[in-house]
């Protein structure tokens, strides 16, 4: 009998073309996503060495990081952003790469449009010059972020060279309580193991909680794998995965699909396969989460107090610097903290379910006067769903406006910047200093916690409204 393998081993091993002695594996890449920010220098490099794109059909381009979220029909005002968008379009055209630029009906955040159009499939290797590429692991793919040198590498050779990471399994068993979303599950895990707790590992998420999650939820979880240092995270494909993908425009259709199903179904960790680290959590311990510091590991239950310095894994000096930046103190209660901005969106929480959750709380209520809210769908397809399902009407009645798709205030490359010193409850993935604008203070949370803050103007337990 052959040695039991993990899901990760099965997919990784199937893509190794060569193992370099005392070095990395040469890994074949099935799908490569590019965007305007991390690709231009890669194309310049390609030209510098006189190389071409080896398999243009395996690369997909979309514009998202730098795009405005209002008036997308007008020319992009910022000349530097416009220049990057033009470079992406030019490079895509030159090398015959599919390009969903600004205004294209399939345009949106790269990690939203890949899955929703069926480009992402179980068992694939997927890379992109963006650390949240880990999102695609929700489908049982090995997906991770790369640097620009590697973007050039994949364009030129469809391969990258990586040492095989170690393996970690994180199981969450039981049933989550009322008002607890996938975002809370992953924020809880990160708060337990720290922002570097999975560095050097590739994670498999297992257990009842992930098994019972929708694909949108699994994407939220896998998206934030990088926030605990993991290169990526994955969930074994099951019927939920296949139901989501079947019939999506760029997924294999008909007989081609049917032929792949047995392979997809084989992608699970064998009984007895070993992990370097195996962690288990109890779903009952998870309440709606919120972060209070400047890395995603500094989070806690929304009803709790900010921990004392001696109780956290970061060094005391770094921890105190973090709280000072946030304008918070040890032992402060999070409930009731004032909120100036609410951001719903990003590759973490910019999908239809996130808007449904947000709407479930603001329905019949009004946006707090002291809150500026930016609601940014992850793609035009999500935007269309919001309208079709009547969610836009609910949002409008409550005093909210919907913006156009893009990465927006998650990284504040475009005009959507939180002003210095202001507090933003944000459904995105990073609360680093200045991440949402110079001096901005970010509190990461789920769409429900964001909605509760948006209608009360302060940090609020969303369970009060459910």
């Amino acid at each position: 009998m052959s040695t039991p393998k993990t899901l990760f081993d099965k997919v990784w091993d199937a893509h190794v073309i060569r193992h370099v002695e005392d070095g990395p594996d040469v890994l074949f890449i099935d799908r490569h996503f590019i965007h305007e920010v991390t690709s231009p220098v890669a194309f310049l490099g390609l030209e510098g060495r006189g190389a071409g794109v080896l398999f243009s059909g395996r690369t997909f381009a979309t514009a998202d990081h730098n795009t405005p979220t209002l008036n997308q029909h007008l020319p992009v005002a910022d000349p530097l952003s416009a220049n990057q968008l033009a470079a992406l379009e030019r490079n895509a055209k030159k090398y015959n790469i599919s390009h969903w630029g600004l205004g294209h009906q399939k345009n949106g955040i790269v990690h939203v449009v890949g899955p929703e159009n069926g480009i992402t499939l179980p068992g694939m290797t997927i890379v992109c010059g963006d650390s949240h590429t880990s999102t695609h692991g929700a489908f049982g793919a090995i997906a991770f972020g790369i640097g620009t040198s590697e973007v050039e590498m994949v364009l030129a050779t469809q391969c990258i060279m990586q040492p095989k990471p170690k393996k970690m399994r994180i199981s969450v068993n039981g049933t989550v309580g009322k008002g607890v979303l996938p975002k809370d599950v992953i924020l809880y895990i990160i708060s337990q193991i720290s922002a570097s707790g999975a560095t050097g590992y590739f994670v498999e998420y297992a257990g009842d909680v992930f098994r019972n999650m929708t694909m949108e939820g699994r994407m939220t979880v896998c998206n934030m794998s990088i926030e605990m240092g993991a290169r990526g995270g994955m969930v074994a494909p099951d019927q939920t995965t296949l139901n989501y993908l079947k019939g999506r425009e760029l997924a294999p259709q008909g007989e081609a699909w049917d032929k792949l199903v047995p392979y997809f179904e084989s992608l699970k960790t064998d009984e007895g396969a070993e992990f370097d680290v195996d962690l288990t959590f109890d779903a009952a311990d998870i309440e709606p989460q919120i972060t209070y510091g400047t890395n995603p590991g500094l989070g806690t239950g929304v009803t709790r107090q900010i921990p004392l310095a001696e109780a956290v894994k970061d060094g005391a000096a770094s921890y105190k610097k973090s709280l000072q930046y946030m304008g918070f103190a040890e032992n402060d209660s999070m409930l009731g903290k004032p909120v100036d901005f609410v951001f719903l969106g990003s590759c973490t929480n910019g999908r239809i379910e996130d808007f449904r959750a947000f709407a479930s709380i603001v329905k019949g209520r009004k946006k707090a006067d002291n809150v500026t809210a930016w609601l940014v769908p992850g793609s035009h397809i999500v935007e269309a769903q919001i309208k079709e399902e009547g969610i836009l009407d609910i949002l409008s009645e409550a005093g909210f406006q919907l913006r156009q798709p893009g990465c927006s205030a998650c990284l504040a490359m475009n005009e959507d910047k939180i002003p210095a010193g202001k507090y933003a409850v944000s459904t995105s993935n990073r609360n680093f200093e200045g991440r949402q604008g110079p001096g901005a203070r970010t509190l990461l949370a789920s769409p429900l916690v964001a909605a509760a803050a948006a209608v009360t103007g302060k940090v609020t337990d969303p369970r009060e409204f459910i």
């Binding site: 060569r18 005392d22 040469v26 190389a51 080896l54 640097g147 060094g315 490359m413």
Partner: protein, 198 residues
Amino acid sequence: MAYDKFTVLRSTAVPMPIENVDTDQIIPARFLKATERKGFGDNLFRDWRYNNDDTPKADFVLNNPTYKGKILVGGKNFGSGSSREHAAWAIYDYGFRCVVSSFFADIFRGNALNIGILPVQVSPEFLEKIFAAIEADPNTELEVNLPKQAITILATGESESFGINGYKKHNLTNGFDDIDYLLSMKGEIEQFAATRPF
């Protein structure tokens, strides 16, 4: 892109004893709008280094003339967050060739190696010794010896070995990159691609 070969580096070092230095601090997103790789060093640690009116913040280490050199010494979990290679470019462009920490984020480590910056991971104890040595004398020199895989505090002679795989070591000491290697096996890659189910 070609980079300087790395063999033995002897230099004073800049201490930054802060944990979880993420790539948004190294280079904030609003400076990622270039389509060419140049000038990123000017915005290295932009928001820690400059006030909103672009005047330097006196208490930040890069603005303190006491500390200089080609080696940056950071706290645990250096380079976490975004995959932006611009962070490594900014560090290289500013003039650093080596970053020392007790722990690196994976993507940053890979990006650094790909552009000719050597990430040297030392034990937490040795990191403290380096910080203490620089505090005692900012002119103290470190020697980073890649062929011997050793880092030494020259003033005290204390030394520790560091890990790097043989392939990457060979690349760095010769100025080679992965793309050169992969282009040489193009036929093998094309054969493999033909076997993929999707």
